[in-house]
C-alpha cells in the first residue's frame, strides 16, 4: 500500500488476478530495447515494410467521401464485405454462408480471443504446437485456460508428430490451436499431418483452430491445404485470417474468421462484447483488398521470395553460427544458434547443448545493433533459436548480415 495526498493507493498485484501472469509481448520488449540504439536494424517485428496498396487506399477514400465510415456496422461486419469474403473463400474451395458463418474481426488476434473465450471454460486445456506465435499462450491464459505445448520436430522440418498430440490430450482438452503456415518456422503442414490431427480431434471431440494469416506467402509452389475445406469438419474447424500480412495492412486491424453457424453465433457474442464491430473504415479497406486482382499482388509476394532467398543465402555464409530450416512460407527464418559462438557472445549463454536465446538476442543487439526475437518467446522448444523477419527492406537484411559477418568472423 502506498499513500498519496492522504489517499491510500493499493498496488497489490493480487487485485489483478486475471492479468498477473500475462506477459507483454517479447517482440515489443525487444523493439523497445532496440529503440535505444540509433543505428539499430530490426529483423524483429513481423511487419511488411510495404505500404498498403494504393487501390485499397482509394477504396477507403471513396468510403470517407461518401460518409459511410462513421457509424458502427452490424456486429459480424458489413454485409458487402462478408459477401466478398464468401466469394474469395469459394475460390479456395471453402463454402461458408456470409450471413451466418463469417465474422469480420479487429485483426486476427481479436478473432482468436473471441474464439478461445467462446469455446472454453476456465480450467480447460488448449494444445499448441510450438514454437509458434507468442500471443496464443497469453490469450489462453487470459481465458483462464492452460496452454499445453507440444513440440514440433526440427529434424522433420518443424513438422507434426501426431503421437505427441495423442499423448497430450486429456479430459480437459478443448481444442488444438495451430498456425499454418507456422510463425516463426515458416512450415506448411502437410495434408496428411492435418488429417491425422482432424481424426484425433474427431476421436476426442475437440475444436481445431487454424490461424492461416500467412497462407498467401507460399514459396516454391509448395502445396497448401486447409482443414476448413472439408465440409465434414466445418463444425470442428474455426479458421482465422487477417488482412495485415497479405495486404500490408497491419495498422488497419481487420481480419475474419469462419466456421459452422453454431460456432460463429457463439463467437459473435464475445466479439460483440469486446469490440462491437471491427473498425468500419478498415472494413472498407478489406473490401478494397478483396477486389484487387490477384495479379496486382503477385509482385508483392515475389519480392518476399527474393528476400527469403537473400536471407537464406546470407545465413549459409554464417553456417558456423546458425543452422536453419529453409522456410516454405511466411516471412521468417528460425535458425538454431550454434554453441560455437560462445567466444563472441559469452560462454555464460551456453546452457547444455543450447544457447540462451534471450541472452543471445540482447548481446546481438548490444554488439551489432540488430534486433531479433529470442526463440523462447515462441515456446519452450524455441530455446536455442532466434527469429529473423525478412518482411523488412532488403537493404536492412543485407546491412544486418554484414554486421553479423563482421562480428562472427571465422
Amino acid at each position: 500500500m502506498e499513500s498519496f495526498l492522504g489517499l491510500t493507493i493499493c498496488s497489490d498485484i493480487s487485485m489483478f488476478e486475471r492479468t498477473k501472469n500475462i506477459k507483454l509481448s517479447v517482440i515489443k520488449q525487444i523493439e523497445l530495447e532496440a529503440s535505444k540504439y540509433p543505428d539499430a536494424v530490426s529483423l524483429a517485428q513481423g511487419i511488411p515494410d510495404f505500404d498498403t496498396p494504393d487501390f485499397i487506399k482509394r477504396r477507403v477514400e471513396r468510403a470517407l467521401k461518401r460518409g459511410v465510415v462513421a457509424k458502427y456496422s452490424l456486429s459480424p461486419g458489413l454485409p458487402e464485405l462478408r459477401e466478398l469474403i464468401e466469394e474469395s473463400l469459394e475460390k479456395e474451395g471453402m463454402y461458408y454462408d456470409w450471413e451466418k458463418e463469417i465474422l469480420v474481426t479487429a485483426g486476427s488476434i481479436e478473432g482468436i480471443t473471441a474464439t478461445i473465450m467462446a469455446i472454453t471454460s476456465p480450467g480447460d486445456e488448449v494444445i499448441i504446437p510450438e514454437p509458434t506465435y507468442t500471443s496464443y499462450r497469453e490469450v489462453i491464459n487470459l481465458a483462464g485456460c492452460k496452454p499445453v505445448f507440444v513440440p514440433l520436430d526440427e529434424e522433420k522440418g518443424w513438422g507434426f508428430d501426431i503421437e505427441r498430440y495423442r499423448e497430450a490430450v486429456t479430459e480437459k482438452t478443448k481444442a488444438i490451436f495451430y498456425c499454418n503456415p507456422n510463425n516463426p518456422t515458416g512450415t506448411i503442414y502437410t495434408k496428411k499431418q492435418l488429417m491425422d490431427l482432424a481424426r484425433l480431434a474427431e476421436d476426442n471431440n475437440l475444436f481445431l483452430i487454424s490461424d492461416e494469416v500467412y497462407k498467401d506467402f507460399i514459396y516454391d509452389e509448395k502445396e497448401f491445404f486447409s482443414l476448413a475445406s472439408i465440409p465434414e469438419l466445418r463444425k470442428r474447424v474455426i479458421r482465422i485470417f487477417s488482412f495485415s500480412k497479405a495486404f500490408a495492412m497491419t495498422g488497419w486491424r481487420v481480419g475474419y474468421l469462419h466456421s459452422d453457424e453454431e460456432n460463429v453465433r457463439e463467437i459473435t457474442k464475445v466479439h460483440d462484447s469486446l469490440v462491437t464491430c471491427a473498425p468500419v473504415i478498415s472494413q472498407y479497406a478489406a473490401m478494397g483488398a478483396l477486389e484487387i486482382e490477384k495479379e496486382k499482388m503477385k509482385k508483392f509476394f515475389e519480392d518476399y521470395k527474393k528476400r527469403r532467398d537473400v536471407m537464406c543465402s546470407r545465413l549459409e555464409n554464417l553456417s558456423h553460427v546458425f543452422d536453419f530450416v529453409r522456410p516454405d512460407s511466411a516471412y521468417y527464418v528460425f535458425p538454431r544458434i550454434s554453441s560455437r559462438v560462445a567466444e563472441v557472445v559469452g560462454k555464460d549463454l551456453i546452457k547444455g547443448d543450447l544457447v540462451d536465446s534471450w541472452g543471445f538476442a540482447f548481446r546481438l543487439l548490444e554488439k551489432a545493433q540488430i534486433a531479433t526475437v529470442p526463440g523462447t518467446a515462441f515456446g519452450p522448444n524455441g530455446e536455442g533459436h532466434i527469429r529473423m523477419s525478412f518482411g523488412r527492406r532488403r537493404e536492412d537484411i543485407e546491412e544486418s548480415f554484414d554486421r553479423m559477418e563482421n562480428i562472427f568472423k571465422t
Binding site: 461518401r66 454485409p79 458487402e80 454462408d97 450471413e99 466445418r234
Partner: protein, 247 residues
C-alpha cells in the same frame, strides 16, 4: 484533369459498347439488387452454359459506368494508372466486330447513387431483368428508401416489352415492383405463390437439400453451398433457363 479524363473515357466506352451491342445483338440478362448479385449471375451462367449456350458475365465489381462497358467488351481495367488504360482505349473499337461474341450477356448492374441505373440503362436494354433483394445497403447514396427502390423500378420499366422481370417474392419492396406491369413477371422465393418456389430446405454436411416446386412439379435438389442466398440463386437459375426458351 482526372475528372475530365474519366468523363471522356466513360462516354467513349459507352459509344463503343452501344455499337458493339448493335452489331452483335446479344440477349441481355440484367441482375440488380442490394445483395446476392454475383451468386445469381454465376448460377445463371452455369445454367445457360449447361444448355450449350455462349455466355459472358461481368466480374464482381465491373458493374458501374466504366466497369460495365469493359465487361461487355471483355477488356481489362486500367484502374488508376493512365498508361494501363491505353490497351483498353486502343483495342476497344476492334471489339465492335469481334468474332465469337457470346450469345448471352449476364450483367450485374450496380447502383449506389441516384441516376446510376439510368446511365447503365442508356448502354443496355435488358431482355430479362432480375431483382435479387432490396435492403438498407447502399441507402446512404439516396435521400430515402423510395428513391433507391425507384432505381430498380426504372430497370423494370426499361426491360424490353417482350422481356421478363424476375422478382424476389419474399421481399415486399421487390415484389411491389411487379405491380401493374404489362410485361411478363415471374416471382421466385419461399412465398407459396412464387413459381419457382422453395417448398422446403434442410441443411446438411455438404450444403442444403431443397424441395423446389416449379410449374406444378416438385423436385429435390442437393445444393452444395450454405446459406439462403444460394437457394435464391438456384431459383433464379431455374427461372432464367426456362424463360430464355421463349425469347
Amino acid at each position: 484533369m482526372k475528372c475530365f479524363a474519366k468523363f471522356l473515357l466513360k462516354h467513349y466506352l459507352r459509344v463503343i459498347t452501344k455499337l458493339t451491342l448493335l452489331v452483335h445483338r446479344p440477349v441481355v440478362i440484367a441482375v440488380a439488387g442490394s445483395t446476392n448479385k454475383n451468386f445469381a449471375k454465376k448460377e445463371i451462367k452455369r445454367r445457360l452454359e449447361e444448355e450449350g449456350l455462349t455466355v459472358r458475365a461481368n466480374p464482381k465489381n465491373f458493374n458501374t459506368e466504366i466497369g460495365l462497358p469493359l465487361a461487355i467488351l471483355h477488356l481489362p481495367s486500367g484502374y488508376n494508372e493512365y498508361k494501363a488504360w491505353l490497351p483498353a482505349i486502343f483495342t476497344s473499337p476492334l471489339r465492335i466486330f469481334q468474332r465469337n461474341f457470346p450469345r448471352f450477356l449476364v450483367l450485374g448492374l450496380g447502383t449506389s447513387d441516384e441516376g446510376d441505373m439510368s446511365y447503365l440503362l442508356s448502354i443496355v436494354k435488358p431482355h430479362i431483368s432480375v431483382v435479387t433483394d432490396i435492403t438498407q445497403r447502399y441507402k446512404e447514396g439516396f435521400s430515402d428508401m423510395n428513391n433507391l427502390v425507384d432505381e430498380y423500378r426504372l430497370l423494370a420499366d426499361r426491360t424490353r416489352n417482350n422481356g421478363v422481370l424476375l422478382l424476389n417474392a419474399d421481399n415486399y419492396r421487390v415484389k411491389r415492383i411487379g405491380d401493374n406491369r404489362k410485361k411478363k413477371v415471374v416471382y421466385y422465393g419461399f412465398n407459396k405463390k412464387a413459381d419457382p418456389c422453395i417448398v422446403g430446405a434442410q441443411k446438411n454436411e455438404k450444403g442444403q437439400r431443397a424441395k423446389i416446386r416449379h410449374r406444378e412439379k416438385e423436385e429435390n435438389f442437393q445444393i452444395n453451398r450454405f446459406g439462403r442466398h444460394h437457394l435464391y440463386a438456384f431459383l433464379i437459375g431455374v427461372a432464367v433457363k426456362e424463360e430464355v426458351k421463349s425469347l
